[in-house]
Protein backbone atom coordinates (compact mmCIF):
# COMPACT_ATOMS: atom_id res chain seq x y z
CA UNK A 1 0.00 0.00 0.00
CA UNK A 2 1.29 3.41 -0.91
CA UNK A 3 0.46 6.60 0.93
CA UNK A 4 0.27 10.01 -0.63
CA UNK A 5 2.97 12.42 0.52
CA UNK A 6 0.31 14.28 2.51
CA UNK A 7 -0.86 11.11 4.25
CA UNK A 8 2.77 10.21 4.97
CA UNK A 9 3.29 13.69 6.44
CA UNK A 10 0.27 13.33 8.69
CA UNK A 11 1.39 9.88 9.84
CA UNK A 12 4.86 11.25 10.56
CA UNK A 13 3.33 14.15 12.47
CA UNK A 14 1.15 11.74 14.43
CA UNK A 15 4.12 9.60 15.42
CA UNK A 16 6.12 12.73 16.23
CA UNK A 17 3.37 13.88 18.59
CA UNK A 18 3.42 10.50 20.30
CA UNK A 19 7.20 10.42 20.57
CA UNK A 20 7.19 14.00 21.86
CA UNK A 21 4.72 13.01 24.56
CA UNK A 22 6.95 10.05 25.44
CA UNK A 23 9.94 12.38 25.71
CA UNK A 24 7.94 14.55 28.10
CA UNK A 25 7.15 11.54 30.29
CA UNK A 26 10.75 10.41 30.28
CA UNK A 27 12.19 13.82 31.04
CA UNK A 28 9.85 14.06 33.99
CA UNK A 29 11.17 10.75 35.24
CA UNK A 30 14.88 10.92 34.41
CA UNK A 31 17.62 13.21 35.56
CA UNK A 32 19.23 13.16 32.13
CA UNK A 33 17.39 15.31 29.57
CA UNK A 34 16.41 13.16 26.61
CA UNK A 35 15.49 14.37 23.16
CA UNK A 36 13.43 12.12 20.91
CA UNK A 37 12.88 12.64 17.20
CA UNK A 38 11.45 10.83 14.20
CA UNK A 39 13.53 11.86 11.21
CA UNK A 40 12.11 9.30 8.80
CA UNK A 41 9.13 7.01 8.38
CA UNK A 42 8.19 4.62 5.61
CA UNK A 43 5.69 1.91 4.82
CA UNK A 44 7.34 -1.47 4.30
CA UNK A 45 6.00 -4.64 2.81
CA UNK A 46 5.84 -7.14 5.70
CA UNK A 47 6.29 -10.00 3.23
CA UNK A 48 9.67 -8.67 2.13
CA UNK A 49 11.44 -8.26 5.43
CA UNK A 50 14.89 -9.55 4.46
CA UNK A 51 16.29 -6.03 4.22
CA UNK A 52 15.45 -5.32 7.84
CA UNK A 53 18.40 -7.30 9.08
CA UNK A 54 18.87 -10.72 10.58
CA UNK A 55 21.08 -9.85 13.54
CA UNK A 56 19.55 -10.16 16.97
CA UNK A 57 18.15 -6.97 18.47
CA UNK A 58 16.74 -5.86 21.81
CA UNK A 59 13.04 -5.53 21.22
CA UNK A 60 10.16 -4.27 23.34
CA UNK A 61 6.85 -5.18 21.76
CA UNK A 62 3.32 -4.41 22.68
CA UNK A 63 0.32 -5.96 20.99
CA UNK A 64 -3.05 -4.28 20.64
CA UNK A 65 -6.33 -5.79 19.67
CA UNK A 66 -10.02 -5.17 19.22
CA UNK A 67 -11.46 -3.28 16.25
CA UNK A 68 -8.03 -1.80 15.88
CA UNK A 69 -5.43 -4.56 16.01
CA UNK A 70 -1.75 -5.06 15.47
CA UNK A 71 1.58 -4.79 17.22
CA UNK A 72 4.04 -2.01 18.00
CA UNK A 73 7.72 -2.60 18.72
CA UNK A 74 10.78 -0.56 19.62
CA UNK A 75 13.99 -2.17 18.36
CA UNK A 76 17.65 -1.50 19.24
CA UNK A 77 20.90 -3.28 18.54
CA UNK A 78 21.76 -4.88 21.94
CA UNK A 79 24.81 -2.68 22.65
CA UNK A 80 22.91 0.50 21.80
CA UNK A 81 20.15 -0.66 24.11
CA UNK A 82 22.61 -1.09 26.99
CA UNK A 83 24.24 2.25 26.24
CA UNK A 84 20.84 3.95 26.30
CA UNK A 85 19.89 2.31 29.60
CA UNK A 86 23.26 3.19 31.13
CA UNK A 87 22.99 6.81 29.98
CA UNK A 88 19.47 7.18 31.31
CA UNK A 89 20.07 5.51 34.65
CA UNK A 90 23.58 6.87 35.25
CA UNK A 91 24.98 3.36 35.74
CA UNK A 92 28.73 3.22 36.14
CA UNK A 93 29.20 -0.30 34.95
CA UNK A 94 31.69 -1.44 32.33
CA UNK A 95 29.93 -4.31 30.61
CA UNK A 96 27.40 -3.79 27.86
CA UNK A 97 25.54 -7.05 28.28
CA UNK A 98 21.80 -6.83 28.55
CA UNK A 99 21.08 -8.34 31.94
CA UNK A 100 17.67 -8.65 33.59
CA UNK A 101 17.87 -5.23 35.21
CA UNK A 102 18.64 -3.53 31.93
CA UNK A 103 16.01 -5.42 29.98
CA UNK A 104 13.50 -4.33 32.64
CA UNK A 105 14.51 -0.69 32.23
CA UNK A 106 14.50 -0.96 28.46
CA UNK A 107 11.02 -2.46 28.63
CA UNK A 108 9.87 0.59 30.58
CA UNK A 109 11.52 2.95 28.07
CA UNK A 110 9.96 1.05 25.17
CA UNK A 111 6.65 1.05 27.00
CA UNK A 112 6.74 4.84 27.35
CA UNK A 113 7.69 5.41 23.70
CA UNK A 114 5.12 2.96 22.36
CA UNK A 115 2.42 4.28 24.72
CA UNK A 116 3.11 7.77 23.41
CA UNK A 117 2.84 6.71 19.79
CA UNK A 118 -0.19 4.50 20.30
CA UNK A 119 -1.84 7.17 22.46
CA UNK A 120 -1.49 9.68 19.62
CA UNK A 121 -2.97 7.18 17.15
CA UNK A 122 -5.82 6.30 19.54
CA UNK A 123 -6.65 9.98 19.99
CA UNK A 124 -6.79 10.48 16.23
CA UNK A 125 -9.03 7.45 15.82
CA UNK A 126 -11.12 8.32 18.83
CA UNK A 127 -11.31 4.60 19.30
CA UNK A 128 -10.76 2.42 22.38
CA UNK A 129 -7.82 0.12 21.94
CA UNK A 130 -7.05 -2.90 24.08
CA UNK A 131 -3.40 -3.50 24.79
CA UNK A 132 -1.30 -6.42 25.94
CA UNK A 133 1.37 -5.98 28.57
CA UNK A 134 4.66 -5.07 26.85
CA UNK A 135 7.33 -7.72 26.71
CA UNK A 136 11.02 -7.84 25.99
CA UNK A 137 12.62 -10.25 23.56
CA UNK A 138 15.87 -10.64 21.69
CA UNK A 139 15.26 -11.40 18.04
CA UNK A 140 15.91 -9.90 14.63
CA UNK A 141 13.37 -7.47 13.17
CA UNK A 142 12.75 -10.03 10.44
CA UNK A 143 11.92 -12.77 12.97
CA UNK A 144 9.78 -10.41 15.04
CA UNK A 145 7.65 -9.26 12.14
CA UNK A 146 7.41 -12.68 10.49
CA UNK A 147 6.12 -14.05 13.77
CA UNK A 148 3.41 -11.39 13.85
CA UNK A 149 2.47 -11.32 10.18
CA UNK A 150 1.52 -14.98 9.86
CA UNK A 151 -0.78 -15.61 6.96
CA UNK A 152 -2.77 -12.45 7.37
CA UNK A 153 -2.20 -9.32 5.39
CA UNK A 154 -0.62 -6.58 7.43
CA UNK A 155 0.70 -3.09 6.85
CA UNK A 156 3.97 -2.19 8.50
CA UNK A 157 5.06 1.34 9.37
CA UNK A 158 8.72 1.84 10.19
CA UNK A 159 9.66 4.98 12.09
CA UNK A 160 13.33 5.64 12.70
CA UNK A 161 13.61 7.24 16.10
CA UNK A 162 16.55 9.22 17.43
CA UNK A 163 17.43 9.18 21.16
CA UNK A 164 19.77 11.98 22.10
CA UNK A 165 21.26 13.10 25.40
CA UNK A 166 24.21 15.43 25.88
CA UNK A 167 26.59 12.44 25.80
CA UNK A 168 24.83 10.05 23.48
CA UNK A 169 23.17 9.89 20.10
CA UNK A 170 21.45 6.60 19.30
CA UNK A 171 18.94 5.46 16.78
CA UNK A 172 16.20 2.94 17.41
CA UNK A 173 13.36 1.84 15.23
CA UNK A 174 9.67 1.78 15.93
CA UNK A 175 7.72 -0.78 13.92
CA UNK A 176 3.95 -0.67 13.96
CA UNK A 177 2.23 -3.56 12.31
CA UNK A 178 -1.40 -2.91 11.50
CA UNK A 179 -4.04 -5.30 10.33
CA UNK A 180 -5.21 -4.06 6.94
CA UNK A 181 -8.63 -3.08 8.22
CA UNK A 182 -7.11 -1.22 11.12
CA UNK A 183 -4.76 0.70 8.87
CA UNK A 184 -7.77 1.57 6.72
CA UNK A 185 -9.44 3.03 9.82
CA UNK A 186 -6.32 5.04 10.55
CA UNK A 187 -6.19 6.35 6.99
CA UNK A 188 -9.81 7.40 7.16
CA UNK A 189 -9.18 9.22 10.41
CA UNK A 190 -6.11 10.87 8.92
CA UNK A 191 -8.00 11.86 5.78
CA UNK A 192 -10.55 13.55 7.99
CA UNK A 193 -7.74 15.77 9.25
CA UNK A 194 -6.94 16.97 5.72
CA UNK A 195 -8.79 20.22 5.10
CA UNK A 196 -11.00 20.08 2.03
CA UNK A 197 -10.43 22.86 -0.48
Amino acid sequence: MELTPLQLDILKELINIGVGKAAGVMNEMLHTPLELSVPHIEIIDPHHLDSLGTSSCATVCQGFKGRFGGMAALVFPPESASTLVMALTGEECQGLDLDELRTGTLTEIGNIVLNGVMGAIANTLNEHIEYNVPSFQECSPEELLKMQVGDDSKICVLAETGFRTKDMDLEGRVYILFEVGSFGMLLEAMNALIPTS
Binding site: M29, F64, E108, N111
Partner: protein, 427 residues
Protein backbone atom coordinates in the same frame (compact mmCIF):
# COMPACT_ATOMS: atom_id res chain seq x y z
CA UNK B 1 -20.81 -7.24 53.54
CA UNK B 2 -17.07 -7.31 54.17
CA UNK B 3 -16.48 -5.94 57.62
CA UNK B 4 -13.04 -4.56 56.83
CA UNK B 5 -14.19 -2.34 53.96
CA UNK B 6 -14.22 1.34 54.76
CA UNK B 7 -17.66 2.76 54.83
CA UNK B 8 -17.08 5.07 51.84
CA UNK B 9 -16.61 2.21 49.38
CA UNK B 10 -18.34 -0.66 51.14
CA UNK B 11 -21.66 -0.99 49.40
CA UNK B 12 -20.73 -0.59 45.78
CA UNK B 13 -17.46 -2.48 46.24
CA UNK B 14 -18.71 -5.71 47.76
CA UNK B 15 -18.95 -7.69 44.45
CA UNK B 16 -15.71 -6.16 43.24
CA UNK B 17 -14.00 -7.11 46.48
CA UNK B 18 -15.12 -10.71 46.10
CA UNK B 19 -13.92 -10.74 42.47
CA UNK B 20 -10.50 -9.42 43.51
CA UNK B 21 -10.04 -11.84 46.40
CA UNK B 22 -8.42 -14.26 43.96
CA UNK B 23 -5.38 -11.98 44.15
CA UNK B 24 -4.69 -13.30 47.63
CA UNK B 25 -3.59 -16.56 46.05
CA UNK B 26 -0.88 -15.23 43.74
CA UNK B 27 2.78 -15.04 44.83
CA UNK B 28 3.13 -11.35 43.95
CA UNK B 29 2.03 -8.12 45.49
CA UNK B 30 -1.19 -6.99 43.84
CA UNK B 31 -3.69 -4.24 44.33
CA UNK B 32 -6.63 -2.84 42.41
CA UNK B 33 -7.33 0.88 42.20
CA UNK B 34 -10.68 2.48 41.39
CA UNK B 35 -10.89 4.96 38.47
CA UNK B 36 -10.25 7.63 41.10
CA UNK B 37 -7.03 5.80 41.97
CA UNK B 38 -8.28 4.79 45.42
CA UNK B 39 -7.35 1.38 46.75
CA UNK B 40 -10.13 -1.11 46.06
CA UNK B 41 -8.18 -4.26 46.92
CA UNK B 42 -4.85 -4.86 48.66
CA UNK B 43 -3.73 -8.48 48.55
CA UNK B 44 -2.13 -10.49 51.37
CA UNK B 45 1.40 -10.30 49.92
CA UNK B 46 1.22 -6.50 49.93
CA UNK B 47 -0.07 -6.54 53.49
CA UNK B 48 2.82 -8.80 54.52
CA UNK B 49 5.45 -6.82 52.64
CA UNK B 50 4.35 -3.30 53.56
CA UNK B 51 2.89 -3.95 56.99
CA UNK B 52 -0.16 -1.97 55.84
CA UNK B 53 -3.34 -3.93 56.44
CA UNK B 54 -6.45 -3.70 54.26
CA UNK B 55 -8.27 -1.88 57.07
CA UNK B 56 -5.81 0.98 56.79
CA UNK B 57 -5.37 1.08 53.03
CA UNK B 58 -8.76 0.41 51.42
CA UNK B 59 -10.46 3.54 50.17
CA UNK B 60 -7.35 5.70 50.48
CA UNK B 61 -5.60 7.34 47.52
CA UNK B 62 -2.91 5.00 46.24
CA UNK B 63 -0.36 7.79 45.88
CA UNK B 64 -0.31 8.25 49.65
CA UNK B 65 1.36 4.86 49.92
CA UNK B 66 3.80 5.15 47.07
CA UNK B 67 7.26 6.51 47.66
CA UNK B 68 9.64 8.86 46.01
CA UNK B 69 9.76 12.28 44.51
CA UNK B 70 8.23 10.95 41.30
CA UNK B 71 4.86 10.26 42.81
CA UNK B 72 3.09 12.77 40.58
CA UNK B 73 4.71 11.27 37.54
CA UNK B 74 3.58 7.78 38.62
CA UNK B 75 0.06 9.03 39.31
CA UNK B 76 -0.09 10.66 35.87
CA UNK B 77 0.89 7.43 34.19
CA UNK B 78 -1.70 5.51 36.21
CA UNK B 79 -4.32 8.07 35.29
CA UNK B 80 -3.46 7.49 31.62
CA UNK B 81 -4.46 3.86 32.12
CA UNK B 82 -7.81 4.91 33.58
CA UNK B 83 -8.27 7.05 30.46
CA UNK B 84 -7.94 3.94 28.28
CA UNK B 85 -4.17 4.04 27.81
CA UNK B 86 -1.89 1.04 27.46
CA UNK B 87 -0.39 -0.94 30.35
CA UNK B 88 2.52 0.72 32.11
CA UNK B 89 5.80 -0.71 33.31
CA UNK B 90 7.69 0.64 36.31
CA UNK B 91 11.06 -1.04 36.08
CA UNK B 92 13.20 -2.00 39.07
CA UNK B 93 16.07 0.27 38.02
CA UNK B 94 13.97 3.41 37.61
CA UNK B 95 11.37 2.71 40.33
CA UNK B 96 13.05 0.23 42.70
CA UNK B 97 10.83 0.94 45.72
CA UNK B 98 7.47 2.06 44.32
CA UNK B 99 5.78 0.77 47.47
CA UNK B 100 8.21 1.08 50.38
CA UNK B 101 8.64 -2.37 51.92
CA UNK B 102 11.38 -2.97 54.45
CA UNK B 103 13.02 -6.38 54.52
CA UNK B 104 14.00 -8.15 57.78
CA UNK B 105 17.65 -7.16 57.13
CA UNK B 106 16.71 -3.48 57.08
CA UNK B 107 17.15 -3.05 53.32
CA UNK B 108 14.33 -1.99 51.06
CA UNK B 109 12.65 -4.52 48.83
CA UNK B 110 13.45 -4.03 45.11
CA UNK B 111 10.34 -4.15 42.95
CA UNK B 112 9.36 -4.50 39.34
CA UNK B 113 5.85 -3.23 38.74
CA UNK B 114 3.26 -3.52 36.00
CA UNK B 115 0.00 -1.60 35.90
CA UNK B 116 -2.86 -2.44 33.56
CA UNK B 117 -6.42 -1.29 33.02
CA UNK B 118 -9.10 -3.81 34.03
CA UNK B 119 -12.87 -3.87 34.21
CA UNK B 120 -14.27 -4.87 37.59
CA UNK B 121 -17.89 -5.83 38.20
CA UNK B 122 -19.89 -3.09 39.78
CA UNK B 123 -17.34 -0.35 39.10
CA UNK B 124 -17.97 2.20 36.41
CA UNK B 125 -14.92 3.03 34.39
CA UNK B 126 -11.52 1.43 34.08
CA UNK B 127 -9.80 0.25 37.23
CA UNK B 128 -6.04 -0.23 37.52
CA UNK B 129 -4.54 -3.57 38.46
CA UNK B 130 -1.03 -3.11 39.90
CA UNK B 131 1.19 -6.17 40.13
CA UNK B 132 4.43 -5.83 42.10
CA UNK B 133 7.16 -8.46 41.85
CA UNK B 134 9.86 -8.79 44.51
CA UNK B 135 13.12 -8.82 42.51
CA UNK B 136 15.44 -8.07 45.44
CA UNK B 137 17.38 -11.34 45.21
CA UNK B 138 17.64 -11.12 41.43
CA UNK B 139 18.87 -7.50 41.58
CA UNK B 140 21.44 -8.40 44.21
CA UNK B 141 22.72 -11.30 42.12
CA UNK B 142 22.95 -9.13 39.02
CA UNK B 143 24.78 -6.38 40.91
CA UNK B 144 27.20 -8.95 42.36
CA UNK B 145 27.71 -10.38 38.88
CA UNK B 146 28.35 -6.88 37.50
CA UNK B 147 30.88 -6.14 40.21
CA UNK B 148 32.68 -9.42 39.56
CA UNK B 149 32.61 -8.79 35.82
CA UNK B 150 33.86 -5.21 36.21
CA UNK B 151 36.68 -6.46 38.40
CA UNK B 152 37.55 -9.15 35.86
CA UNK B 153 37.42 -6.60 33.03
CA UNK B 154 39.70 -4.28 34.98
CA UNK B 155 42.13 -7.12 35.58
CA UNK B 156 42.08 -8.07 31.91
CA UNK B 157 42.63 -4.43 30.96
CA UNK B 158 45.52 -4.15 33.42
CA UNK B 159 47.03 -7.39 32.14
CA UNK B 160 46.71 -6.24 28.53
CA UNK B 161 48.36 -2.96 29.46
CA UNK B 162 51.23 -4.78 31.14
CA UNK B 163 51.55 -7.18 28.22
CA UNK B 164 51.64 -4.26 25.79
CA UNK B 165 54.31 -2.54 27.88
CA UNK B 166 56.32 -5.75 28.08
CA UNK B 167 55.99 -6.25 24.35
CA UNK B 168 57.15 -2.69 23.73
CA UNK B 169 60.08 -3.16 26.08
CA UNK B 170 60.91 -6.51 24.57
CA UNK B 171 60.84 -5.05 21.04
CA UNK B 172 62.95 -2.13 22.20
CA UNK B 173 65.41 -4.51 23.83
CA UNK B 174 65.50 -6.68 20.73
CA UNK B 175 66.12 -3.63 18.54
CA UNK B 176 68.78 -2.30 20.85
CA UNK B 177 70.40 -5.73 20.99
CA UNK B 178 70.39 -5.98 17.22
CA UNK B 179 71.98 -2.56 17.00
CA UNK B 180 74.65 -3.56 19.49
CA UNK B 181 75.39 -6.78 17.63
CA UNK B 182 75.54 -4.92 14.34
CA UNK B 183 77.76 -2.31 15.92
CA UNK B 184 80.07 -5.04 17.19
CA UNK B 185 80.20 -6.58 13.72
CA UNK B 186 80.89 -3.29 11.96
CA UNK B 187 83.39 -2.18 14.59
CA UNK B 188 85.17 -5.54 14.42
CA UNK B 189 85.34 -5.36 10.66
CA UNK B 190 86.55 -1.75 10.63
CA UNK B 191 89.15 -2.38 13.33
CA UNK B 192 90.66 -5.21 11.33
CA UNK B 193 92.00 -2.91 8.65
CA UNK B 194 94.20 -0.54 10.75
CA UNK B 195 95.33 -3.53 12.80
CA UNK B 196 96.37 -5.37 9.67
CA UNK B 197 98.48 -2.32 8.78
CA UNK B 198 100.09 -2.25 12.24
CA UNK B 199 101.03 -5.95 11.86
CA UNK B 200 102.20 -5.56 8.24
CA UNK B 201 104.36 -2.53 8.96
CA UNK B 202 105.61 -4.18 12.15
CA UNK B 203 106.67 -7.19 10.05
CA UNK B 204 108.40 -4.86 7.56
CA UNK B 205 110.09 -2.96 10.35
CA UNK B 206 111.34 -6.21 11.79
CA UNK B 207 112.49 -7.50 8.40
CA UNK B 208 114.13 -4.35 7.08
CA UNK B 209 115.25 -2.54 10.19
CA UNK B 210 115.41 -5.33 12.77
CA UNK B 211 119.20 -5.31 12.70
CA UNK B 212 119.35 -1.61 13.52
CA UNK B 213 117.37 -2.09 16.75
CA UNK B 214 119.06 -3.04 19.95
CA UNK B 215 117.85 -6.01 22.00
CA UNK B 216 115.34 -3.96 23.98
CA UNK B 217 113.94 -2.46 20.76
CA UNK B 218 113.52 -5.89 19.22
CA UNK B 219 111.77 -7.07 22.41
CA UNK B 220 109.39 -4.10 22.26
CA UNK B 221 108.66 -4.82 18.63
CA UNK B 222 108.07 -8.50 19.36
CA UNK B 223 105.68 -7.64 22.19
CA UNK B 224 103.86 -5.14 19.96
CA UNK B 225 103.50 -7.80 17.26
CA UNK B 226 102.18 -10.35 19.76
CA UNK B 227 99.69 -7.88 21.20
CA UNK B 228 98.52 -6.97 17.69
CA UNK B 229 97.99 -10.61 16.72
CA UNK B 230 96.15 -11.25 19.95
CA UNK B 231 93.95 -8.26 19.25
CA UNK B 232 93.35 -9.62 15.76
CA UNK B 233 92.18 -12.93 17.25
CA UNK B 234 89.97 -11.06 19.70
CA UNK B 235 88.37 -9.07 16.90
CA UNK B 236 87.89 -12.22 14.82
CA UNK B 237 86.23 -13.97 17.75
CA UNK B 238 84.07 -10.95 18.48
CA UNK B 239 83.00 -10.94 14.86
CA UNK B 240 82.16 -14.65 15.07
CA UNK B 241 80.12 -14.01 18.19
CA UNK B 242 78.08 -11.25 16.59
CA UNK B 243 77.60 -13.31 13.44
CA UNK B 244 75.81 -16.08 15.38
CA UNK B 245 72.74 -13.83 15.24
CA UNK B 246 73.43 -11.70 12.19
CA UNK B 247 74.39 -14.34 9.69
CA UNK B 248 71.95 -16.94 10.99
CA UNK B 249 71.03 -19.44 8.28
CA UNK B 250 67.87 -21.55 7.99
CA UNK B 251 67.68 -24.75 9.99
CA UNK B 252 68.01 -28.10 8.25
CA UNK B 253 68.59 -31.71 9.19
CA UNK B 254 72.15 -32.03 10.41
CA UNK B 255 73.96 -35.27 11.09
CA UNK B 256 75.97 -34.36 14.19
CA UNK B 257 78.02 -37.49 13.81
CA UNK B 258 79.28 -36.33 10.45
CA UNK B 259 79.93 -32.81 11.74
CA UNK B 260 81.89 -34.11 14.75
CA UNK B 261 83.95 -36.41 12.51
CA UNK B 262 84.79 -33.54 10.16
CA UNK B 263 85.80 -31.29 13.06
CA UNK B 264 87.99 -34.06 14.49
CA UNK B 265 89.60 -34.43 11.07
CA UNK B 266 90.22 -30.68 10.92
CA UNK B 267 91.90 -30.90 14.33
CA UNK B 268 93.95 -33.94 13.32
CA UNK B 269 97.24 -31.98 13.49
CA UNK B 270 96.65 -30.93 17.10
CA UNK B 271 95.46 -34.40 18.08
CA UNK B 272 98.55 -35.99 16.64
CA UNK B 273 100.88 -33.40 18.15
CA UNK B 274 99.45 -34.01 21.61
CA UNK B 275 99.20 -37.79 21.12
CA UNK B 276 95.57 -37.31 21.97
CA UNK B 277 92.47 -39.28 21.09
CA UNK B 278 88.97 -38.15 20.21
CA UNK B 279 86.27 -40.83 20.49
CA UNK B 280 82.91 -40.13 18.91
CA UNK B 281 79.93 -42.31 19.82
CA UNK B 282 76.83 -42.36 17.62
CA UNK B 283 75.38 -38.85 17.62
CA UNK B 284 71.87 -37.99 16.45
CA UNK B 285 70.59 -36.13 13.43
CA UNK B 286 68.80 -33.00 14.55
CA UNK B 287 67.26 -29.97 12.96
CA UNK B 288 69.87 -27.22 13.28
CA UNK B 289 72.09 -24.81 11.42
CA UNK B 290 75.04 -26.83 10.04
CA UNK B 291 77.64 -24.05 10.17
CA UNK B 292 76.86 -23.21 13.77
CA UNK B 293 76.92 -26.87 14.80
CA UNK B 294 80.37 -27.06 13.29
CA UNK B 295 81.40 -23.94 15.25
CA UNK B 296 79.98 -25.50 18.43
CA UNK B 297 81.89 -28.78 18.05
CA UNK B 298 85.03 -26.95 16.94
CA UNK B 299 85.01 -24.93 20.14
CA UNK B 300 84.09 -27.76 22.47
CA UNK B 301 86.54 -30.33 21.04
CA UNK B 302 89.17 -27.61 20.56
CA UNK B 303 88.88 -26.58 24.24
CA UNK B 304 89.02 -30.20 25.40
CA UNK B 305 92.28 -30.66 23.50
CA UNK B 306 93.68 -27.28 24.53
CA UNK B 307 93.19 -27.62 28.26
CA UNK B 308 94.98 -30.94 28.48
CA UNK B 309 97.32 -31.79 31.33
CA UNK B 310 101.00 -31.26 30.54
CA UNK B 311 101.91 -34.82 31.41
CA UNK B 312 98.90 -36.71 30.06
CA UNK B 313 97.69 -36.93 26.45
CA UNK B 314 94.14 -35.59 25.99
CA UNK B 315 91.31 -38.10 25.82
CA UNK B 316 88.09 -36.59 24.50
CA UNK B 317 84.80 -38.51 24.28
CA UNK B 318 81.65 -37.37 22.53
CA UNK B 319 78.39 -39.15 23.32
CA UNK B 320 74.67 -38.47 23.16
CA UNK B 321 71.50 -39.65 24.84
CA UNK B 322 67.88 -38.56 24.94
CA UNK B 323 66.71 -36.75 28.03
CA UNK B 324 63.27 -36.16 29.46
CA UNK B 325 63.43 -32.48 30.37
CA UNK B 326 66.05 -30.03 31.44
CA UNK B 327 65.29 -27.43 28.84
CA UNK B 328 63.09 -24.44 29.56
CA UNK B 329 62.36 -24.05 25.85
CA UNK B 330 61.10 -27.60 25.58
CA UNK B 331 57.69 -27.65 23.91
CA UNK B 332 57.35 -31.42 23.73
CA UNK B 333 60.07 -32.14 21.17
CA UNK B 334 62.50 -34.96 21.80
CA UNK B 335 65.61 -33.62 23.55
CA UNK B 336 69.17 -34.82 23.02
CA UNK B 337 71.98 -34.35 25.49
CA UNK B 338 75.39 -34.25 23.81
CA UNK B 339 78.32 -34.67 26.18
CA UNK B 340 81.91 -33.71 25.43
CA UNK B 341 84.10 -35.12 28.19
CA UNK B 342 87.85 -34.75 28.63
CA UNK B 343 90.60 -35.74 31.04
CA UNK B 344 92.15 -32.27 31.08
CA UNK B 345 93.09 -29.81 33.79
CA UNK B 346 89.47 -29.07 34.71
CA UNK B 347 88.42 -26.12 36.81
CA UNK B 348 86.83 -25.39 40.12
CA UNK B 349 83.10 -26.08 40.14
CA UNK B 350 82.33 -22.50 41.22
CA UNK B 351 83.30 -21.25 37.75
CA UNK B 352 80.85 -23.55 35.95
CA UNK B 353 78.56 -20.65 34.99
CA UNK B 354 81.16 -17.89 34.59
CA UNK B 355 83.06 -19.72 31.88
CA UNK B 356 80.25 -19.02 29.41
CA UNK B 357 80.63 -15.26 29.90
CA UNK B 358 82.21 -13.03 27.26
CA UNK B 359 86.04 -12.68 27.55
CA UNK B 360 85.98 -15.00 30.58
CA UNK B 361 89.25 -16.86 31.09
CA UNK B 362 90.24 -19.09 33.98
CA UNK B 363 93.87 -19.38 32.92
CA UNK B 364 96.54 -16.83 32.06
CA UNK B 365 96.94 -16.04 28.35
CA UNK B 366 100.55 -17.12 28.48
CA UNK B 367 99.55 -20.51 29.83
CA UNK B 368 96.81 -21.29 27.29
CA UNK B 369 96.24 -19.08 24.29
CA UNK B 370 92.75 -17.85 23.53
CA UNK B 371 90.44 -14.88 23.84
CA UNK B 372 87.72 -16.10 26.20
CA UNK B 373 85.04 -15.80 23.55
CA UNK B 374 84.77 -19.46 22.45
CA UNK B 375 82.34 -20.69 25.13
CA UNK B 376 80.30 -17.47 24.89
CA UNK B 377 79.85 -18.28 21.19
CA UNK B 378 78.88 -21.87 22.13
CA UNK B 379 76.25 -20.57 24.57
CA UNK B 380 74.84 -18.18 22.00
CA UNK B 381 74.63 -20.91 19.35
CA UNK B 382 72.95 -23.36 21.74
CA UNK B 383 70.43 -20.78 22.91
CA UNK B 384 69.65 -19.87 19.33
CA UNK B 385 68.77 -23.55 18.89
CA UNK B 386 66.45 -23.41 21.94
CA UNK B 387 68.92 -25.48 23.90
CA UNK B 388 70.95 -25.18 27.07
CA UNK B 389 74.65 -25.63 27.73
CA UNK B 390 76.27 -26.41 31.07
CA UNK B 391 79.52 -27.76 32.46
CA UNK B 392 80.73 -29.81 35.39
CA UNK B 393 84.35 -30.09 36.38
CA UNK B 394 86.82 -30.62 39.19
CA UNK B 395 90.27 -29.22 39.24
CA UNK B 396 92.63 -31.83 37.81
CA UNK B 397 89.87 -34.29 37.03
CA UNK B 398 88.72 -33.21 33.58
CA UNK B 399 85.64 -31.41 32.33
CA UNK B 400 82.25 -32.49 31.09
CA UNK B 401 80.43 -30.10 28.74
CA UNK B 402 76.73 -30.89 28.28
CA UNK B 403 74.57 -29.51 25.51
CA UNK B 404 70.84 -30.22 25.36
CA UNK B 405 69.25 -29.61 21.97
CA UNK B 406 65.75 -30.35 20.65
CA UNK B 407 65.66 -32.94 17.93
CA UNK B 408 63.19 -31.08 15.74
CA UNK B 409 61.58 -27.71 15.28
CA UNK B 410 58.13 -26.88 13.95
CA UNK B 411 57.06 -30.50 14.40
CA UNK B 412 59.36 -31.74 11.68
CA UNK B 413 60.37 -35.25 12.63
CA UNK B 414 63.93 -35.76 11.65
CA UNK B 415 65.29 -39.27 11.26
CA UNK B 416 67.22 -40.16 14.38
CA UNK B 417 69.79 -42.60 15.55
CA UNK B 418 69.61 -44.74 18.57
CA UNK B 419 71.65 -43.42 21.44
CA UNK B 420 73.60 -46.63 21.65
CA UNK B 421 75.85 -47.10 18.67
CA UNK B 422 79.25 -47.96 17.44
CA UNK B 423 82.19 -45.84 18.51
CA UNK B 424 84.66 -44.29 16.13
CA UNK B 425 88.03 -42.91 17.13
CA UNK B 426 90.42 -40.32 15.74
CA UNK B 427 93.97 -40.64 16.96
Amino acid sequence: MHSSLPVNIQEESEPAFTECSLLDHVPVGACVLTPELKVLYWNRSLQDWSGLTSDVVLGTLAETHFSGSQIHHVTRRLRNIVDGGPPTIFSSQLHPHLLPCELPNGHMQVQSTTAKGVRISGINGICVLIVIQDVTALSLRIREYREARDLALQEVEERQRIEATLLDQSQELERSNQELVQFAAIASHDLQEPLRKVITFGDRLKLKNGDQLDEAGRDYLERMQNASRRMQRLITDLLSYSQVSIKAQPFELVNLNQIAQEVATDLEGRIEASHGQVTIAELPTIEAEPFQMRQLFQNLIGNALKYAKKDEPPRVTLSAQTVETGNRYNHGERQWQIVVEDNGVGFEEQYAVQIFGMFKRLHGKDEYEGTGVGLAICKKIVERHDGVISATSHLGLGTKMMVILPESRLSLNAPTHDNKGEMSEVE
